[in-house]
């Protein structure tokens, strides 16, 4: 009877999870998606808990309470910290899978060696390797995103790095095969521990050479690893619900990774094994040209007289926490009848969809957020393109500079607007370390300073109305 309940619950939960993701296809129905997800999860937990084999309840209650105590504050982080939180939750997911795999192995080895068939052992090894590499890899990513002091932000590379990385993984897998064939030998426990250690190490090594601009892709890849480790856990525990939910998570991470890679014109292997920051600098194309600086007054006037303004936000907007000031600017301009749109590059920011969330937080209607492919054909009619803390995603060198690391990357055609206003903190090049000729174009005017402060000044100018 309880078996039937468990199976029925698993089927129901699977259906609810699929609906949950299905409803994410539109912001209007998405909250229904969350309700479906919560319901599916509650059903699955309840059906598992009432199984007769569950005889100890103390630690379950304790762990659930602790999960709430840590989980609730984690859901209340500022939205600029969402990439770190996401990386952290990939780490937790990987950790849970790794720990359960370890427990299952030592349980089998200690009590019931017959359970450790070669196939099941392979699943356990896969679960443990995927779980622990996701754990440390995501922790490293979260640390980089949070700018923790002792984790270098810049990509760290050394000669033979890829050989070392692949070597560590190959050794882990080889030991895995060994322990799968001999699960109960006297040395198997130590070998298993070595696998755990190597997976932990591999996760760290994998993320060390990755820089901030690659984070959207890396977070997506880690997302799919977390899903795959849940799938492996499903195989270990003979639980189809784990397999389906893990597959949904894995395919989501996979699709996001593919989209992010395409948006940077790079391949998976290139992101993971071709550290971005080390690429040679291309000849400075605009070396002889100079910046033209614009005053706040002049910029306000340009914006006011425009009929179509396209804002191109980048990570700089997130760093400066400028989204609320951007909203004020949006209000001032729309009040004057100016059409204001936001051009969102898929990899702008530090994770997929980062810009959308920040702008939504500032109450900018999502109908004003336009994807790159849709806005680009309109850029020629655009009077002013206002670039806020974006750099590589608007660099025209991506179209033709073959030696450039961003060559071939689709960009937002900000340079085609009649006038370009660019807000930039300093005169340093962007993350990829490449000069951006957009800034020295004839129709480009620079506003140097903190994005929040500069936009605040612009808003003050527009609100003061002293421009006539």
């Amino acid at each position: 009877m309880t078996y039937a309940i468990a199976q029925l619950a698993a089927v129901l939960a699977t259906a609810l999870f699929i609906f949950s993701l299905h409803w994410m296809n539109d912001p209007k129905t998405a909250r229904r998606g969350v309700v479906a997800g919560v319901t599916g999860m509650s059903i699955a937990v309840a059906a598992t808990w009432i199984q007769p084999e569950i005889v100890h309840h103390g630690w379950i209650v304790l762990a659930i309470v602790a999960g709430f105590i840590v989980g609730v504050p984690l859901s209340r982080v500022p939205l600029t910290a969402v990439p770190q939180r996401t990386a952290l939750s990939h780490a937790f997911g990987g950790f849970a899978a790794g720990v359960v795999g370890t427990a299952e192995y030592f349980l089998g080895a200690g009590e019931n060696p017959a359970q450790l068939t070669a196939f099941r052992m392979s699943a356990i090894v896969a679960e443990v390797i995927l779980g622990f590499l996701t754990f440390t890899g995501s922790l490293m990513a979260a640390g980089k995103l949070q700018e923790v002091k002792w984790i270098p932000q810049r990509p760290v590379t050394y000669p033979g790095q890829n050989v070392v990385n692949v070597g560590v993984l190959v050794i882990a897998v080889a030991l895995g095969v060994l322990v799968a064939v001999h699960p109960t030998a006297a040395w198997s426990g130590q070998v298993f521990s070595a696998i755990v250690g190597l997976a932990v190490l591999f996760g760290v090594l994998l993320i060390i050479p990755i820089g901030g601009a690659d984070m959207p892709t890396v977070i997506s890849i880690l997302n799919s690893y977390a899903g795959l480790s849940a799938v492996a856990m499903g195989f270990v525990l003979n639980n189809k619900l784990l397999v389906t939910a893990g597959a949904l998570d894995g395919s989501s991470g996979l699709i996001l990774s593919v989209i992010m890679c395409r948006a940077m014109n790079r391949s998976f292997t290139n992101v993971l094994f071709g550290a971005f920051g080390t690429v040679q600098k291309t000849a400075a194309l605009g070396a002889q040209k100079v910046w033209k600086q614009e005053t706040v007054e002049g910029a306000a006037q340009l914006l006011e007289q425009a009929s179509h303004v396209v804002v191109v936000p980048g990570y700089g907007m997130a760093v400066a926490q400028a989204q609320h000031k951007v909203r004020e600017l949006y209000d001032q301009l729309t009040k004057r009848g100016v059409t204001v749109q936001f051009a969102i590059h898929p990899v702008a920011g530090r994770m997929p969809g980062h810009m959308n969330v920040l702008l939504a937080e500032a109450d900018i209607p999502y109908t004003a957020l336009v994807e790159m492919e849709e806005i680009n054909p309109e850029m020629q009619q655009c009077d002013v393109a206002l670039v806020i803390g974006a750099n590589d995603v608007v660099n025209p060198a991506a179209r033709y500079a073959k030696g450039s690391p961003i060559y071939g990357m689709p960009i937002i055609d900000a340079d085609k607007a009649k006038t370009v206003l660019a807000i930039k903190r300093s005169k340093n090049p962007g993350f990829a370390g490449i000069d951006n000729e957009l800034y020295v174009q004839d129709n480009t005017w620079m506003l140097f300073g903190d994005a929040k402060a500069v936009i605040g000044e612009l808003v003050k100018q527009l609100a003061g109305g002293g421009l006539h």
Binding site: P27, A30, W49, W59, A63, A96, V99, G250, P352, G353
Partner: protein
């Protein structure tokens, strides 16, 4: 004996459904998609409950409880933050 073939069957079908459904997710919501799938894949919680609650040796059950805590954190924070961010997406 576990029927691995039917598990594999389920994995393949679920992956195809996942690819089909996720491909249609609004691009506006990619950050939220990630926090939601994070919470959903924390379904690993059902495995942890068994390891933590069945009649196993104490050390094994402690490992189960630790894993249960990690999954539960993901469930709680994942669903809550998805909902919190969704409330911010307004049409006008």
């Amino acid at each position: 004996m576990i029927d691995y073939w039917s598990m594999l069957f389920v994995l393949v079908l679920a992956t195809f459904i996942g690819l089909g459904v996720i491909r249609r997710v609004s691009r506006l919501l990619y950050t939220l998609l990630m926090s939601l799938t994070n919470a959903v894949s924390a379904i690993a919680v059902v495995g942890s409950i068994v390891v933590a609650g069945a009649d196993y040796p104490g050390t094994i059950r402690i490992l189960g409880a630790v894993a249960l805590f990690a999954s539960m954190t993901n469930i709680v924070s994942g669903f809550l933050i998805t909902d919190r961010m969704l409330k911010m997406f307004k049409k006008q």
